[in-house]
Amino acid sequence: MMKKKRICRFCEDNIKYVDFRDEKKLLRFTTEQGKIIPRRTSGTCAKHQRQLVKAIKRARHLALIPYVSEMTR
């Protein structure tokens, strides 16, 4: 599962603002349970991880993304 190269996806795509409305993109950075994937596994840089975490938490509040997925509930 561990990748040798760890490259930040957001830096790669030259994204400057992580949008909380883009639920598909945010779901890619959460586990099946709905937990936020840590930086050490996803390889996201610190700058973008901070933005990402904020965006995920906002999206959760608006019920765009689950706090806990239905599979584990």
């Binding site: 790669e12 603002y17 608006l62 019920a63």
Partner: protein
């Protein structure tokens, strides 16, 4: 005057006229208190990720507006008081966010030309930089979903077999 973005989730069981009425009410509040509405984006009826007030679906509306600081208090109070509003979120848009919004709008207006070019460029980037990475991810996602489906399917037959044996 700062720019803000409010996303409001309205009860989707209401009639479309009632939903329009609620949105108009918020528009009026913004206009009457010195705010300027820049954009109203209706995402429409969407499935909620979890139940809110026993509702499975919500009607999402996104309002981008300029406002003096005291308007936010008034507006948020109004959101909270309205029983048909399931969820609301008001966010201040900083420079980066504004740039992002402008880009999205440009892409919307130039539907014919820009998206095609973007897609081509993205594909080139993915192919050239990390071909292995992207392919791995797509397979991972598929694998994550499939086992669940398979396990569910396999569980049911075994249970039925057990019942038959007992009988």
């Amino acid at each position: 005057m700062k720019t803000y973005e409010s996303v409001v989730v309205i009860d989707s069981l209401l009639k479309s006229e009632e939903i329009d009425g609620i949105i108009e009410k918020f528009e009026r509040i913004i206009n009457n208190n010195g705010g300027i509405i820049k954009e109203i984006d209706r995402w429409g009826k969407k499935r909620l990720a979890y139940e809110v007030k026993k509702r499975q679906y919500g009607y999402y509306v996104d309002i981008v507006f300029e406002a003096p600081a005291n308007l936010i208090n008034i507006l948020e109070k109004e959101f909270g008081l309205d029983e048909n509003v399931l969820r609301y979120l008001t966010v201040h848009l900083n420079k980066r966010a504004l740039q992002h919004h402008q880009q999205l709008q440009i892409e919307k207006t130039e539907v014919d030309k820009v998206p095609v070019d973007n897609i081509e460029i993205n594909n080139e980037l993915e192919n050239s930089d990390d071909f292995t990475d992207t392919t791995e991810d797509t397979t991972e996602i598929d694998d994550e979903k499939k086992p669940f489906l398979d396990s569910n399917e396999t569980e049911e037959p075994t249970e039925s077999e057990d019942i038959e044996e007992q009988v």
